[in-house]
């Protein structure tokens, strides 16, 4: 399958996963397209579409927590910033993704 076809397939699959979680694709189509392309390449390399904005470790159980869409493993964090770390997904109420900051979980917990 070529890159464009796989991007479309991932988009279709991810939509079904994130919708019941209260998320949607970011309205920033350029970023979404770039991220999906990176995920296709990560999938070609590792066999799994990992998050392009988080680093893989040597521990499988850690890496499984950054398989896209990784929202269920980072729920408290992403719900607080209304976006996933990459900004591939935003909560359904978001209309302007530019307003959403990339704040690490540690800072949110500290308030």
């Amino acid at each position: 399958m070529n890159v464009e076809s796989r991007k479309k397939a991932l988009r279709f699959m991810f939509q079904k996963v994130v919708d019941p979680l209260g998320y949607k694709f970011s309205p920033d189509e350029e970023t979404v397209d770039f991220l999906l392309e990176q995920e296709v390449m990560l999938e070609q390399k590792h066999g799994i579409p990992f998050c392009p904005c988080q680093g893989l470790t040597r521990k499988r159980e850690e890496n499984m927590k950054i398989v896209c869409p990784c929202i269920p493993f980072h729920r408290e964090h992403f719900d607080a910033i209304k976006r996933c770390w990459c900004l591939l997904f935003v909560t359904k109420d978001v209309t302007n993704p530019d307003e959403l900051k990339q704040i690490p979980f540690g800072e949110i917990k500290r308030g």
Partner: protein, 87 residues
């Protein structure tokens, strides 16, 4: 002022972070974690986990201050602070 960052070649926010500093003519060094050798990855992982506990990129160090994530407001604030101290 010394700027250093750990980034991922696949991450658009890492690219934006590099662009932020380049556009302001602020020199920086960086290592793309995903393209680094395994022993170097281990060292980076250890440093990142010690500083914040996650493997979220970009990871920016301005002198001894660490900022995780693409945060232009914080970068600017820190740069101003550092420049103020240098005067």
């Amino acid at each position: 002022m010394k700027v250093f960052m750990y980034t991922l070649s696949t991450c658009p926010w890492c690219r934006k972070t590099k662009k932020f500093f380049s556009e302001r003519n602020i020199p920086f060094d960086y290592v793309d974690y995903d393209l680094a050798a395994e022993n170097e990855q281990d060292k980076i992982m250890e440093e990142m986990k010690r500083s914040g506990g996650t493997m979220a990129f970009p990871f920016v160090r301005i002198d001894d201050e660490i900022i995780v994530g693409y945060n232009p407001e914080k970068y600017s604030e820190l740069i101003e602070q550092k420049r103020g101290r240098q005067k």
